[in-house]
């Protein structure tokens, strides 16, 4: 195993209205190639800030981020922008509403000059099929798609770039549960098939339990616990983690029992 992404002592401070917020506080962790690392924590714990720093949307206030063994410059090169892709909670904010689905995918292929020009139209159809959409969805506008379909298009765009690392920021939080299950399954299949690496940000621990290889738990900008999914869920070491797990609404008696056991491990 080798680390594809490594954060060392990364901090991010925001100054707004004369107030300083340390959104991310001296965080170090690495992501192995081909794994799904989940980042969990309550709202405001710094999850999206970490995503934005990995994407290079803004730089860190301190610390360093390395990708495939090389330090990432604050101004990202094109190859970095291709290799690291973002899928957001609301894909409408990242898909240009005036462009058809096909045009958005075409742009990604053109910008990064992926595959022979003559084959790009065909490639768009294949990408759509890979995410479970008919090729003729290329002609639609994002507004004419359901939430789940838009999310599939956002995933197809990440695939179009042949990215190695996909940062998913609450990718299924706005979806109905049936649609969520289908999108999660698609993500799991694509990861296995293409050897993708995911940084999967979510507040939903039931999702994490079923998709992540490892889990990093954040509390107010600090990384307080990181481990395999199995270990974090069976024997969480922090009360904060235990509280997060025991607050999850569950649908079966077996889950309620597990939650109860975790709750009994908390110290307050």
């Amino acid at each position: 195993m080798s680390a594809i992404l490594e954060l060392s002592g990364v901090s991010k401070e925001f100054a707004a209205n004369g107030r300083r917020t340390l959104a991310v506080d001296n965080v170090s962790f690495s992501v192995e190639k081909g794994e799904c690392l989940a980042i969990v924590g309550e709202s405001g714990s710094g999850k999206s800030t970490i995503a934005n720093m990995i994407l290079g949307i803004y730089g860190a206030s301190a610390g360093a981020i390395a990708f495939a063994g090389e330090p990432l410059p604050e101004r990202r090169e094109k190859r970095h922008r291709r290799a690291i892709q973002l899928v957001q909670q609301n894909p409408l904010s990242s898909l240009n509403p005036r462009r058809t689905v096909g045009a958005s995918l075409r742009l990604a292929l053109d910008v990064h000059d992926i595959g022979p020009k003559a084959e790009r139209a065909e490639r768009i159809g294949a990408l759509l099929q890979e995410v479970g959409l008919e090729p003729d969805y290329a002609r639609r506008s994002p507004a004419a798609l359901s939430g789940g379909q838009r999310q599939r298009v956002a995933i197809a765009r990440a695939l179009a770039c042949e990215s190695e690392l996909v940062v998913l920021d609450e990718p299924t939080s706005a979806l109905d549960v049936l649609v969520q299950a289908r999108v999660l399954r698609l993500l799991a299949e694509l990861k296995a098939k293409r050897g993708l690496t995911y940084v999967f940000i979510t507040h939903d621990l039931s999702v994490v339990r079923n998709i992540a290889d490892r889990v990093a738990v954040f509390e107010r900008g600090r990384l307080i616990e990181i481990g395999t999914t199995e270990a974090v869920f069976s024997s969480p070491t922090h009360d904060y983690t235990r509280r997060l797990i025991s607050a999850v609404p569950v649908v079966s008696d077996a889950e309620a029992e597990m939650r109860q056991n975790i709750m009994e491990m908390t110290h307050d």
Partner: protein, 296 residues
């Protein structure tokens, strides 16, 4: 037997749009017994919020809405009430909690002004001092430690969890017999959501309030409700006691919905068939839990 707090019979709703009629509710029937907590659960767009807005009499004010069916509140036919009397029920005998507490509170007035308005609906002659005293008690009931400070704050100065508590306190301030809770706490962190629901649960139990609990989240429903109606595209497809429904779901739609929820105990991402044919199967009521059996 005393009349149920709310009875909805064969409720239909359509909207007349420039492009034609769209049918949203296809004849739903449900009821809430006194002190009962009843959930209406289904995916987004299935018709949950419109149902609550019809009960409150809000949708009736929309010219494009076409509504038919029976609505009975504590034995009174709501459609026979004068508009003025019907309007008066809102915020007094029945009240509503919305999903997003911060945006449903008015940003330009302090909490107290809004609280006072709520109390004045039941008692127009209420004095400032009395309103303040009542508001403080109501906020203390939802475990707000510094009610004085909260009353003088604006919604944007409070956390989402705090605003949700304020909303609950306001909704229960006039001791309504029916509370309509539309996705309460959905916008909050799960830890805060769990605390909020516990609090709401304790309060409605103390007051004997009947609740229509609207949610898309099966886990939250299982924790809060005594009885459940599952709604799919404007039709009730399954109804039963919470225990019955979760331990033995019958309708293909309910089964798919439950199977799709990732489990905190693991087991992987469920494989959900694309086939939705059975989702349109007729209503299935669990033994002893049909409208007929419960209302006879």
């Amino acid at each position: 037997m005393t009349a149920p707090t709310l009875k909805i019979e064969n409720l239909k709703l359509g909207f007349k749009l420039w492009s034609g009629m769209i049918e949203v509710l296809h004849g739903i029937s449900l009821h809430i017994g006194k002190g009962e907590r009843v959930a209406l659960v289904g995916e987004s767009g299935s018709g949950k919020s419109v149902t609550a807005r019809i009960v409150l009499g809000m949708l009736q004010e929309m010219s494009s809405a076409r509504i038919s069916g029976g609505l009975t509140f504590e034995g009174i036919d709501l459609d026979k009430l004068k508009p003025r009397d019907r309007h008066h029920l809102r915020g007094t005998r029945m009240s509503m909690i919305f999903q997003d507490p911060t945006s449903s509170l008015n940003p330009v007035y302090p909490i107290f002004t809004q609280f006072r308005e709520v109390l004045a609906r039941a008692n127009p002659a209420i004095s400032d001092a009395e309103a303040r005293m009542k508001a403080i008690t109501a906020l203390a009931d939802v475990s707000i430690n510094e009610p004085e400070r909260v009353l003088d704050s604006y919604a944007f100065q409070l956390s989402g969890g705090m605003n949700q508590r304020v909303m609950i306190a306001m909704a229960l301030a006039n001791n309504p017999s029916l509370l309509l809770a539309d996705e309460p706490g959905t916008a909050l962190d799960v830890t805060v959501q769990a605390q909020t629901l516990k609090l709401m649960s304790d309060l409605v139990e103390q007051h004997g309030t009947s609740v229509l609990f609207i949610s898309h989240n099966l886990g939250v429903v299982r924790e809060f409700a005594d009885r459940v109606y599952v709604i799919y595209k404007g039709r009730i497809v399954e109804q039963g006691l919470t225990k019955q429904l979760f331990s033995n779901p019958q309708h293909p739609y309910t089964r798919a919905l439950l199977a799709a929820v990732p489990r905190i105990t693991g087991g992987g991402i469920p494989d959900i068939a694309e086939d939705t044919a059975g989702f349109h199967d007729p209503l299935i009521a669990h033994p002893g839990a049909s409208e007929k059996e419960l209302l006879s």
